[in-house]
Structures are given as C-alpha cells and as structure tokens.
C-alpha cells in the first residue's frame, strides 16, 4: 500500500466507526479542498452514498465561485444539503482581534445548528499540519455541553479504538483527515480526479491556498494553474498554508481561544 492508500483506508475506517457508533451525525462541508476530499472519502466508505447530511455554515461572506460550486455539487453528489446561518459580528466577543472575531461568527452558527438539529457528532475536515492546536487534536474529540473543547483534558485514544461514548448533552467532533497533509490532499485530488473550486488555481500570478471568508482570506503569489503544478509547488514551497488567513497572525493565542470555544 502507498502512503496515500494508508491514509484513505484510515479515513474510511474512521468514517465507518463514527457512522456505526454515533446516532445523529452530520458532516461539515466548507466547500474547500479538504472537505471535498472528505465527502469523496465518505462515498468510498459507504459505496457511493453519503448517509448523513452535509452541513454548510454560511457566513454569507464566501466568494461567489464557492456558492456556485456548492449548488452544483450538492446536486451532482446527491448530498442531503443543510445550510446554517451565522449571527452578526456585533454579537461576538469584542475582546477578540478583528479577524478572529469575524471567524467566531462561524462557531456561533455551528453551535446553533448543533442545538437545533440535536447532532451527537460532527465530522470535520481539519488536519494536524495546518496549525499548532490542531496538531494536538484527537480523531474522536469530545465537546462539552456548551460546545467547548477541554484542550488540557483530552481523553486517551490509541490502537484505532475511539471514545465513542459521551455524557448526555455533549457532542463529538470526528476528524477523519487529521493525519493528511496539504500535499496528500492534492495528490489524492489528482489520483481520484476530485473537482475543486477554481479559486485554488492561479490567475494573474495569484491563487488561494486556503479558502475562508472573503474579507479575511487573501490569495498568495503562485503560478500553479493545475493540480499537478500545485503539487510541484508544494514540494518546494516553504510558505505556510494558512499564511493568507488573517486570523492566524493577529495574536499568539487567538486561534486557541477560538478553538477552545468550539471553532473547527
């Protein structure tokens, strides 16, 4: 088996575990490359089907290309699509730096959705290599009744056995892509021929490496206009993936604060 086969097999195993053990499930579909791969892996795991809703928490500030992508593939992939809304920025913790405060809207929208639908589990496409606190995550990661993450009290998890049970009121985040790196994602997109939003490909010397809200995400310098060129670029670059994400650079602790409160 190649490293890509290993990753694919592990992700499928995780998706099947959560589907077997957690009753009311949803998958977060953020329209980016990672969650696209995650939907694809679900179709692999369940033989062409996605047996839980695909939830998009809409900040209403995504780029228009992303909305077009969403409408097209929700239909083509036969997804049970659910859209959630986010509260206005004025409702967010004013002590957060501006970009983090903007991102906190998504946490609030997410929590409202979990409450409303009574989800026991959310499948989320974060990866360890993106950011330092994500590097510390578990595959099955408990969230308390307020949706918070107890980063200092995480449960043990080993030998592919997961903490699949949790106290009433709590929910669980499941991270099937935790061990993938950015370049793995692109290699898999190439191998499986998975469609992604055009924004990832270079136009006029710039492309998006990571897609977030339009006002706090910026394209990076790049000439990579195809998946193969992106892979070659990543084999050599030393620029961090989230360098175009404003919220990562505002304060040392802003990302951790967001995540402890329930951000992805």
């Amino acid at each position: 088996m190649t490293p890509l086969d290993d990753l694919e097999s592990e992700s499928i195993f995780i998706l099947r575990e959560v589907y077997a053990r957690v009753p009311n499930l949803a998958m977060l579909w953020s329209l980016g490359k990672d969650s696209g791969v995650m939907v694809w892996l679900a179709r692999k795991a369940f033989f062409g089907h996605v047996p839980f809703p695909a939830v998009h928490i809409d900040t209403e500030k995504k780029l228009p290309e992303m909305y077009a992508f969403r409408d097209h593939y929700a239909k083509e992939w036969n997804l049970r699509f659910v859209s959630g809304t986010c509260p206005p920025i004025e409702d967010m913790d004013p002590s957060l730096p501006p970009a983090a405060r903007s991102a906190a809207r998504k946490t609030a929208g997410l929590k409202a959705m979990v409450r409303e639908k009574g989800y026991d589990g959310l499948i989320v496409g974060i990866r360890r290599d993106e950011e330092g606190t994500r590097a510390k995550e578990r595959i099955f990661s408990a969230r308390d009744s307020k949706g918070g993450w107890d980063v200092r009290g995480q449960k043990p998890e080993f030998w592919d056995q997961f903490n699949t049970e949790f106290p009433p009121g709590a929910h669980i985040r499941v991270h099937p892509l935790l061990h993938w790196t950015e370049i793995d994602i692109w290699r898999y997109i190439e191998r499986e021929n998975i469609p992604v939003v055009d924004l990832y490909f270079s136009k006029g010397g710039k492309r998006y490496r990571s897609l977030g809200d339009a006002d706090i995400t910026f394209p990076v310098d790049s000439d990579a206009a195809t998946v193969a060129e992106i892979i070659t670029e990543l084999e050599h670059t030393k620029v961090a993936e989230r360098s175009g994400r404003a919220m990562d650079h505002e304060a040392e602790d802003s990302f951790e604060r967001l995540r402890a409160d329930g951000y992805l």
Partner: protein, 622 residues
C-alpha cells in the same frame, strides 16, 4: 502520479524536561523543514514573553504549555530526509500526562528515547522505555542530549549510555544507537559539529534513516473484523478493515464467535478501475457473501483452518490510566477489534514496577500501574494472543465514557474454548421417554442431581466423595462417584493435561453427569476442574440439578499434604501445567456449598455434605 515517499512514524519519549520538544524543533530547523517565518514567529513570542529562545515552542503550541514550559499533549509534525518521509510524534514527559504519552506513542514504528546528560536516567525514562516495549515498539535509539551542559564530556555520556542500555536490555530491547547531541545548539542533529570529535557514530538524522521498515506479512492468518453491515442499495455489504492476512473472492470464511461460514462472493468498491479480487492487511473494504447468514458488527471473519481463539477468560498485561483504581470483581467496558463487551477483573496476578522490573502482589490497580491480570467476559469473545497476532490480541478498557487502559492478551494456562462450546441444536428432536422424571423420583425415592466437587489437588475431593457415597448409599440414595480413575481410563483415555484437554475432559464429565442425573441418580464428580468457564458449562448441561461444592483447602495445606508427591514434582518442574503451581485454579464465585478440609476433619465435612443432600434431595417415604 507524483512520486511519494514512504512514511515512517517516530515517537520522541523520555522524562519531563529532558529536551524532547527542543530536539524536534532543532531537527526541523537544521534540516530546513520549518515553514517560512516560523523561527521569527517563535523568536517574537519568546521576546514578548521575556524568556530565552525555545525551540520547544514549535511543538508546544498551547498557551498553557508555553506558560509552564512543559508539553501537555501529544502532537505530530511531518518532514522528510533525503531517504524518506517522517511523522515525528512529540509526547509529554510529565507523569501527570502519561495518557497523552500513550496516545502519541501507540502508533509509532520506532522511538527516540531522550535522556538529559545532566540528570541521567529518571523515572519516566524507564517507564516510557517499558511502555514502548508493551506497545510493541521494538526499535529504539537513545539520544543523550544537553551535552553542552556537561562540556561535551565523553565520560558523562558513557555513564548515561551504560545505565540506559542495561535497563533496556532487561526488557529485551537493544538500542539501535546511543548518541550524544545538544538539542539547543544543534550538535550532532543533522551535522556532526565540532564539539563531539570523540564520537564516531551517526547524527540523529542518519540514525533515523537507519530504522528498518516493518512490513506486515501476507502469510499471517486472516482477521477481518466486521465493522458494519450496509444495505444502501440492493447489495448487502459487510464493511471492515483487514487486520491481518489476505481475503480473496471465493474464499470460505468463518465468522467467530457466531460460528457461521459463507463464501466471499465479491469485494465491493467505489470509483475503482476494476473490481478487487483480493484484499490485504490494512485495507478498508466491503464484501458480499454467497449466502445471507446473520452476522453483526463485532464478529471476526477468518479462514476455517486458522480461526481465532474463542474464550470467556484470558490473561492480560494491562496499563491502567484511570483516575480511580480498578479492583477485582469490578466490571468495566472492553473494546477488542470491533467488538464491545463488559469485562470483570477476576484476579490481579502481579503489579510490575517499571523502575526496576520487580513484581509484587496487589489488591487493586492504581493509575499508571502495569499489571498482569485475569479477565472474564460474560460471553465468549474471538481473539488472539498478542504474541501471535498483535492487532487482534490487544484491547482497550473503558469506564465513564473514557478509555482508561489498554492490554495485551496472553492465553498461557487457558484453553481455546472453541470446540467446547456445545451448540444445543434445536432441530434435533430428543427421544420422548415414556418414563417421566417424576416416575424415576418415585422409584428412587429422590430426584437425580449433580454434586460437583471442585478444589485443588490434595484438597480431599476424592476421599470426601468416596465417604459421602458410602454414607448416602447406606441411607437409601442411588449415588455414584465419577472421578479421574473411572473416567480417564475409558471415556477420556485420549486426553492429556493441556488446557484444551483438561477443558474437554471436564466437558465430557459434565455431559455424562447430566445424563446420570436425568436417569435419576445422584452423581458426585470429584475433579479439580480449575476453570470457572468449564464448571459453568457443566452447570449449563445439568441445569437446576447442578450443585457446586467447593472443597476448600489453601495451597500451602494441600502442598504440605501432597499425598502422591505431585506438588514436589511440579515444583521441581517435572510436571507441566500443574494446577496451583504452574496453571491457574479459579475458585468458584458462588458455590452452593463450601467445605473447608483445612479447618474441619473429614468426618465432619462428610456430615456437612450429607446434611446438604438431605435438605435439597429429601428422601421420600417408601
């Protein structure tokens, strides 16, 4: 497709503050693996905090970790050498976070054990070493770091090397390399540096490249645990991951512990070029069967001739992470492959001190203990001994929504019960007797039954049985003793004394005793019958007519009696698998009667048995 490197997983372990995270940060820097701006960001963070530059901040990303200069939780980071790709796993060294150390280390292929040149080998250096061994990580290199703090002194290095090598060798681990470095300054990380001229071995980077890739052999027995059954469309698909061996279309596979077989009709997939004909260890697949047999999540498919063990009792070496202690008699959750069950701690055999590898008995298992135990499940599970097949021979324990430990299975002294599990077939119509049970009771003046004596060799079972038989016969009972002498020579001549044969011996005695009881006779069986599972099966065969009588006498008493000199021979190693010495005796949990031959003489024990019989099998008037 673009070329991909193989990926090797390395965990960095060791005592708190010995320099693990620093070593990783420096390794990334010296191999040019840090993303742009990372070093500057760490420098700015350290300056803002008013502390000297810390390479450890690459891995220690949490605020609490940076505030306390300690790693709390495990993290992973990727890099590659010229030779191959790596996942480097950082773990905390503080004892408080041992659960996070296990979480990180359990998935590693090899380990780097970091020891501080100033402090030398400490408590967690040893405990981590022991746990690596328990987790099945056989390849270890030792890094003696902070050499800058001892003036790069070779003697200091040699002393640490000697101490850690001796400890690891006690575990059967020979370190691939023991190397001196300075994590802070980068000596001998990617480049040798000039301060360690006396050292001739590889740099850390070169040592990493020397670890061997471990590949799983295809010739292992097939284990395919069923994860789920899908019926999204017209196909009924059994989903799961092949844990060992190979599965092929057309194979006849046996599901345990349900004991049903079927043929693999197809291996299903989605978005694949051509249908798969076979699948190997590590692959997540789905299969369809030629027959719609009933199987559920938790069952394990194997080939019929290399099936897993089935048992409701086994030994294990466990590590306990629970904040509350684990005591004999307590039941908690168990996860083994995809099966889940409750499990009872039947006995603690010993606690292992990971500091000096000594063992001692204990009444309970405390947090961070490593213990050898006997565990019992309500129903038989399909499993393997960890030494034979690691992936189906290990399990985790759960309590209060949380994993609280893990363990490795050993079947030493315990039998595979697969062939003993008598399926009382429901479509076999039993002979309709024209003589009823009550007809027999009237003729014999009492109901039939089984008095099942159990106890150590030398406890007095046979003596008691023979005396009780005479006494009861004289009072008018139809009574007969089954013991080794009249059973081993005929019915069971083909059986030896291995755990399997002992279990089969008892199974047959149990079935024969049940027939005697049905025939209206009071039968006394006098066998050591050391295993609870075997006695429970005998009880199942005879139903309500079964009475378990524990002929109690402690091991020391039995050994001092030693009527046939067997204990002496067992102690001398002349008899293998001798109950109480080299094989287990499991005392009954809830016997109907206990007679203690160490405290009372034989006549009073006989009287007790007779009194019991007269109460539960009263003689009718003629």
């Amino acid at each position: 497709m673009s070329n991909q490197r193989e990926l090797f997983r390395i965990v960095v372990v060791g005592h708190v503050d010995h320099g693990k995270s620093t070593l990783i940060g420096r390794l990334f820097h010296d191999t040019g693996s840090l993303p742009e701006g990372k070093e500057e960001a760490i420098r700015a963070t350290c300056e803002r905090r008013g502390v000297p530059f810390e390479w450890a901040f690459l891995m220690d990303a949490l605020q609490a970790e940076r505030n306390q200069a300690i790693t709390i939780d495990t993290a992973q980071i990727w890099f590659h050498s010229e030779a191959r790709g790596y996942v480097i796993i950082d773990v905390p060294g503080h004892r408080e976070f041992l659960k996070n150390m296990i979480t990180g280390a359990a998935s590693a292929d090899a380990a780097v054990l970091v020891v501080d040149a100033v402090e030398g080998v400490r408590e967690q250096s040893r405990r981590h070493g022991y746990l690596l061994h328990l987790l099945g990580i056989r390849q270890v290199s030792v890094v003696v770091t902070k050499m800058d703090m001892v003036g790069f002194d070779q003697q200091k290095f040699d002393a640490v090397e000697q101490e850690i090598t001796a400890y690891l060798e006690g575990l059967g681990i020979t370190p691939t390399y023991v190397l001196p470095v300075s994590g802070r300054d980068g000596d001998n990380i990617a480049e040798p540096g000039s301060n360690l001229a006396w050292y001739q071995g590889p740099t850390l980077l070169a040592a990493l490249d020397q670890f061997d890739v471990v590949t799983e052999a295809d010739d292992q027995p097939l284990r395919f645990p069923v994860q789920d059954i899908y019926k999204f469309d017209q196909r009924r698909i059994l989903a799961g991951r092949v844990e060992s061996g190979v599965i092929r279309v057309g194979d006849t596979i046996l599901f345990s512990p349900v004991n049903k077989s079927a043929k693999v009709a197809s291996i299903e997939g989605w978005n694949i070029a051509s249908p798969q004909r076979e699948a190997h260890a590590g692959q997540s697949i789905g299969i369809t069967l030629d027959e719609q047999i009933f199987v559920e999540r938790g069952a394990v498919a194997s080939h019929e001739d290399r099936a897993p063990i089935e048992t409701d009792v086994f030994r294990a070496r466990i590590f306990w992470l629970g904040s509350e202690s684990f005591k004999p008699g307590q039941s908690i959750g168990l996860k083994l492959m995809t099966s889940e069950s409750t499990i009872e701690l039947q006995a603690i055999e010993q606690i292992i001190d990971t500091g000096n590898l000594s063992v001692s008995p204990a009444g309970q298992i405390e947090r961070d203990d490593v213990a050898e135990v006997v565990l019992r499940t309500p129903k038989p599970l399909a499993l393997d001994a960890a030494n034979d097949l690691p992936r189906s021979g290990r399990f985790v324990l759960t309590r209060n929504y949380e994993i609280v430990g893990g363990g490795l299975i050993s079947m030493e002294g315990y039998a595979d019960q697969r062939d003993l599990i008598t399926v009382r077939s429901s479509n076999l119509t039993r002979v309709e007797h024209q003589v009823s049970a009550s007809d027999r009771t009237i003729r014999n003046r009492h109901a039939g039954g089984v008095l099942w004596f159990t106890g150590l060799s030398g406890a007095g079972k046979s003596t008691l049985a023979i005396e009780a038989e005479k006494e009861l016969f004289n009072r008018g009972y139809q009574v007969y003793v089954l013991d080794g002498d009249n059973v081993r020579n005929g019915l069971n001549t083909n059986l030896g004394f291995s755990p399997e044969d002992r279990a089969e011996n008892i199974r047959r005695v149990g079935e024969v005793a049940a027939l005697f009881a049905e025939a209206g006779v009071l039968v006394i069986s006098a066998f050591i019958s050391p295993y609870r599972s075997d006695r429970d099966r005998a009880r199942l065969a005879a139903g309500d007519a079964f009475h378990e009588i524990y002929v109690e006498a402690d091991l020391a008493t039995c050994e001092s009696r030693d009527p046939k000199g067997l204990y002496k021979r067992a102690r001398a190693g002349e008899i293998e698998d001798f109950t109480g010495i080299s094989a287990p005796y499991e005392a009954p949990a809830a016997p109907e009667l206990v007679v203690d031959t160490a405290k009372s003489d034989i006549p009073s024990c006989v009287a007790e048995v007779v009194r019991y019989v007269e109460a539960v099998f009263p003689l009718r008037a003629e």
